[in-house]
Amino acid sequence: MSTTHNHPAPAPLGGQLVTPATLILAALVVIALGILAVRFLFGLGAVTNINDGYTWGIWVVYDVVIGSAFACGGYSVALLVYIFNKGEYHPMVRPALLASLFGYTLAGAGVIFDLGRYWNFWHIFWPGYAQVNSVMFEVAVCITAYIIVMWIEFSPAFLEKFGLKDAKKKLSRVLFFIIALGTLLPSMHQSSLGSLLVVFGYQIHPLWQTVLLPLLYLMTALAIGFAIVIFEACLSSSGFKRPLEMHLLGKLSNVMTWMLAAYLAVRVADLVVRGAVPSMFQPNVEALMFWIEMALFVAPLVILARPEARRNPAKLFVAAVCLMLAGFLLRINSFLVGYETGPGWHYFPSVSEIMVSIGMIALEILGYIVLVRYLPIMPKEA
């Protein structure tokens, strides 16, 4: 992971670690840990609102399904830089990869506290127990493998920090294969996160139940990946008071809007072919949520329609946020709003459930701040 196109080498930012912001983040993490202690002592029902009608709450749908999609920045940028050979985006690789690393590692760890019989989790990787027809098996194995691959992809930052030049050299010889794996694995499990729903059959509303779910989830994961990179670049430039790399972000938004347009074409064609169009015009919550979801997917195309808008940081930021919300809603809608198991079942996350998810996000941001100050991740300022 060396530099190219004469980009400045990554360097630690340095600076204060203990600030009001990091203290608040740490407090949120402590609250989440307290709630999790109650969960492990008294069961999932003690702190969550999940039930047999909605057995997967936000700890699955937000922490894992959405959390990992929001961690696709590393995947999208790696695909662009190493597979489509767009070296100009190279300075974005490390920051994006770090955010992905955190997102995925925490999504993986988050699974543990949602698993009822977490002490058996290793069975999923164990020959004899592993059930290869299960979509969940594919998701679990692929995400775990990707977390390991990402740590290896990211390890040059550590090796540089500790001056382990030999190890870094050895690693760089096989890095191309690690990078290939790092683009294959997310393609597999981001699509499979959508495939999880296919076996639910009629319980998923026709606006979301389709065998194209894997493709829809994959395309949106890639588009979200680009949106996240723009979002994080804007935030870290204001947070760390660094100049914004507008020329790169503008070009990245081109790629993002093309991906988005392709997604919308597939999405609408699928709805038409399956005859789901009448479901859009029913006076119910599902149809309303569908329109909000679609509006958020269309919004970035409208906001960034004119080329000059793509050089405007505020517009780029708003478009990226819209797309992230759209991807968020596609997942919430297909897993929760459009999921109906029979009369009498309701779900809305409890405060403690939400606080755990917030604690996870806080831990991600905290880890990101600590590592960019300590390790060579951000491009050095000229």
């Binding site: 999932l44 999940i50 019989r117 004899g128 299960s134 969940m136 294959l184 296919v198 639910f200 059959g201």
Partner: protein, 322 residues
């Protein structure tokens, strides 16, 4: 850069061809039940709502009582749950006067696992904790394997597997047709105690024939209905008047067939039994998965292309560095 792009396209084309050639396009059909599969025939018109089956199920499976009244004296479950594997639910319309009538009438429905021929829960389970017995066809659960992901709970089209949300060390609970009693030469406790033969145990092929016999009877006439175990005739039959059946055996075709089949005089969807297609959801999901991942051909082909392209581009990267 243009050379690289050309190479990439070449590689992508090669990979695409490999992908198209390698991916198995054959659909995975519905699985069928074993020839000696056992199950239950539940006849809603014979059920008197005594709930003896609910109590017997609790005892046979060592499940705790569940309360829905303020006194908390009697086991009064309203639905299946982490503590209850079997309940009798009641349908009531308007005045609720006449039994087995949709309008101004009432009817009963047994709620417990239907033991699908091609179960969603078995297809969903990532660790083989949910399995289908190759001989009896019983869908069994092994808590020592289960990781508690609850994919089975979410996937089941009948909402059958339930989870214990109130326990630190929880498990899934579902009816396993008293498979632990079958080993001792006994059979499902619910069928054993049923006083009218509304719940009848037996080989599925025989239960299906018995269901067809009932549908062919003349409504209003008296007939004999076997009780307990249809194959061993361990109990004397029950005599009752034939009801006005809906001419359909629920579970004969639904999601590829179930080993617990049902008869009723009130439409099944009114009794909480969903209208389902003949193709099992497990077969839809597994056809999709096998198309994408069959023999790992497509992922390996894709990995080959990615490795080739990444190798070129990362090497360029190194050269730039020098």
């Amino acid at each position: 850069m243009s050379i690289n792009r050309r190479n990439f396209l070449k590689g992508a084309l090669a990979g695409g061809t490999l992908l198209a050639a390698g991916a198995p396009v054959e659909a995975r059909p519905n699985k069928t039940m074993p020839p000696d599969a056992v199950g239950l025939l539940y006849d809603s018109t014979l059920c008197i709502g005594c709930k003896a089956c609910v109590a017997a199920c609790k005892e046979a499976n060592d499940m705790p009582p569940e309360f829905s009244t303020t006194e908390q004296l009697w086991d009064t479950p309203l639905d299946i749950s982490g503590k209850t594997l079997n309940v009798i639910k009641m349908y009531k319309d308007g005045t609720g006067e006449t039994k087995d009538v949709e309008k101004d009438g009432f009817a009963f429905m047994k709620v417990s696992c239907l033991h699908c021929a091609d179960p969603s829960c078995v297809s969903a389970c990532p660790v083989s904790a949910m399995t289908k017995d190759p001989v009896t066809g019983i869908v069994g659960y092994d808590k020592s394997i289960c990781i508690g992901c609850r994919y089975c709970v979410a996937a089941c089209p009948f909402g059958v597997p339930r989870f214990q949300y109130d326990r630190a060390l929880p498990q899934i609970s579902k009816c396993q047709l008293c498979r632990h009693r079958i080993a001792d030469g006994k059979y499902s406790a619910c069928a054993e105690v049923c006083p009218t033969g509304a719940t009848l145990f037996g080989k599925v092929t025989d239960l299906q024939a018995e269901a067809k016999r009932r549908l062919a009877l003349k409504p209003g006439e008296e007939s004999q209905f076997p009780r307990g175990n249809l194959n061993t005739h361990d109990q004397s039959p029950h005599t009752a008047k034939v009801a006005h059946y809906i001419p359909e055996v629920y579970g004969e075709k639904e999601v590829g067939g179930t080993q617990v089949i049902k008869l009723s005089a009130v439409p099944f969807d009114q009794l909480g039994m969903p209208k389902l297609p003949e193709r099992s959801y497990a077969s839809v999901s597994e056809t999709m998965q096998h198309t994408l991942y069959g023999g790992l051909l497509a992922p390996l082909a894709f990995l080959g292309v990615l490795t080739y392209v990444a190798k070129r581009n990362v090497k360029d990267d190194e050269n730039d560095d020098k």
